[in-house]
């Protein structure tokens, strides 16, 4: 798939703060309803670029925070790696989707990010929440809103090792 439009970034430290806001009933720094969160901590932008290399980070570290964000209206996430049963259950409950970007394809992905602006938690540096405008952003549906998980289905097709 190719994604066009707005993405918000958040990784470990920003998730911790977003979850604390939700737990304390405080307002979030942006309206996450209907939005996609991209798990990324970009490298610094060199002159002439909107953003530095910006590939996905491992999503599993966000698992403990994700169900609450989905219940608060988040539409989906972009990252790499497997998700927990709790996240998948929350995705099914809320009709959300989990996309993958190719880990380590950071220079290629950076070219598809047309603008970048820090909108919250500037003190977190690379972990601050950025708003990206993307065009032609390459993504794969890893887990759909019915809970079909490509990390299970894909390897099962190519596995030639017998289960011992």
């Amino acid at each position: 798939m190719r994604l066009f439009g707005t993405l918000y970034t958040a990784r470990d430290a920003a998730h911790k703060r977003l979850a604390a806001c939700l737990a304390e009933g405080k307002p979030l720094p942006f309206d996450l309803r209907g939005q996609l969160l991209y798990y990324v901590g970009p490298a610094p932008a060199s002159p002439g670029h909107a953003v530095g290399p910006a590939g996905p980070t491992t999503s599993g570290r966000m698992d403990s925070y994700t169900p609450a964000l989905l219940d608060a209206g988040l539409l989906g996430m972009i990252g790499k790696g497997k998700r927990s049963p709790e996240v998948i259950a929350a995705m099914k409950r809320n009709g959300a989707v989990y996309f993958g970007a190719v880990g380590g394809a950071a220079a290629l992905i950076a070219r598809r990010i047309k603008s970048s602006e820090v909108i919250a938690y500037e003190d977190l540096g690379t972990e601050a929440i950025h708003r990206f405008t993307v065009a032609d952003f390459p993504a794969i549906v890893l887990i759909d809103s019915l809970g079909n998980d490509l990390y299970e289905i894909g390897p099962a097709k190519y596995r030639t090792l017998s289960q011992e």
Binding site: V40, G41, P42, A43, P44, A45, S46, H49, G52, P53, A54, G55, T57, T58, G60, K80, G81, K82, G100, V102, G103, G104, A105, A106, A107, L108, I109, A110, R111, G125, T126, P138, I140, L142, L150, Y151, I153, G154, P155, A156, K157, Y158, R159, T160, L161
Partner: protein, 281 residues
């Protein structure tokens, strides 16, 4: 005896960090291309194409291959007839890291305290340095910017000698099965067998940087490298973990003598963004 200025070492490390971060090695690129030619999953092929395209963009635009420019791991084999003058070697290495990560627009990913504070040091210092004293009057330097998606998939286990070859193969397969999908496959798998717990781990790290067109000199271990590679690829994890024939590009093994009572095995997983650069002063 030969005298080498600390600044010269610093300048060399600076250059190696930038080269490793921007340019995938020829050996890695040809292994990726060979994997692309053999992959039977269409999605897997398109992922490998993205990776190859990514590595071309990074090299031509002088930007990092991956945003996680890692912990800067530095291996130095220092000839015993070398005298390093003009400064503290550790401080020199720190300055080289600080300058390269800043000038090169590389991400700063180091935190000062691992458990409590976790405050970013803001310049990616300190590096992790492994030195060995060797005969001669040269310094052989390898720099490995090591990303943590794959570092987190690594493991050490103290096997019983009776576990034998099967024990080693099973341990590595288990590590790849449980976390390999998160480590940005296709992987390069560095393995250290023998020594002690920490020396096995250091060998495994060194093996992530051994050229992919080289094999262990002992035919038994060369055969083991092949066996583990086949076994891991039979898992079907595939490029990016979404299914395919190529889960790993290469398995590199280094061994060392060990104690009668044990067989330490370390497996250091490296992603396709296998960055390292080497030079001899």
């Amino acid at each position: 005896m030969r005298t080498i200025e600390a600044d010269r070492i610093g300048g060399t490390v600076y250059d190696l960090i930038l080269k490793a971060s921007y340019e995938a090695g020829e050996d890695v690129l040809s292994a990726l291309q060979a994997a692309r030619d053999k992959e039977s999953s269409t999605l897997g092929c398109s992922i490998l194409d993205q990776i190859l395209e990514n590595d071309r963009i990074a090299a031509s635009e002088h930007i990092a291959i991956c945003q996680d420019t890692g912990v800067c791991v530095i291996f130095m084999d220092i000839g015993q007839d070398v005298h390093i003058t003009g400064g503290d070697l550790n401080e020199t290495l720190c300055s080289a890291v600080r300058k390269a990560y800043t000038d090169g627009y590389l991400r700063k990913s180091m935190v000062d305290d691992p458990l409590y504070d976790r405050l970013n040091t803001k310049d990616n210092t300190p590096p992790v340095v492994h030195t060995r004293i060797v005969p001669g009057e040269k310094i052989d330097i390898t720099v490995i910017p090591k990303g943590f998606g794959s570092e987190n998939a690594s493991a050490v286990r103290m096997l019983a000698p009776a576990a034998g070859e099967t024990g080693v193969i099973d341990f590595v397969t288990e590590a790849v099965q449980s976390k390999g999908a998160n480590a940005c496959p296709p992987l390069i798998i560095g393995i250290g067998i023998g020594g002690t717990m920490e020396s096995a781990a250091i060998m495994a790290k060194r093996m992530t940087a051994r050229p992919l067109n080289t094999w262990n000199a002992d035919p038994r271990y060369q055969a083991l490298e092949e066996k583990i590679l086949q076994r891991v690829n039979a898992l079907g994890i595939g490029p990016a973990g979404v299914g395919g024939n190529c889960t790993a590009l290469k398995v590199n093994i280094e061994t060392a003598p060990t104690h009668i009572a044990g067989m330490p095995v370390a497996v250091n997983i490296c992603c396709h963004a296998a960055r390292h650069a080497r030079t001899v002063l």
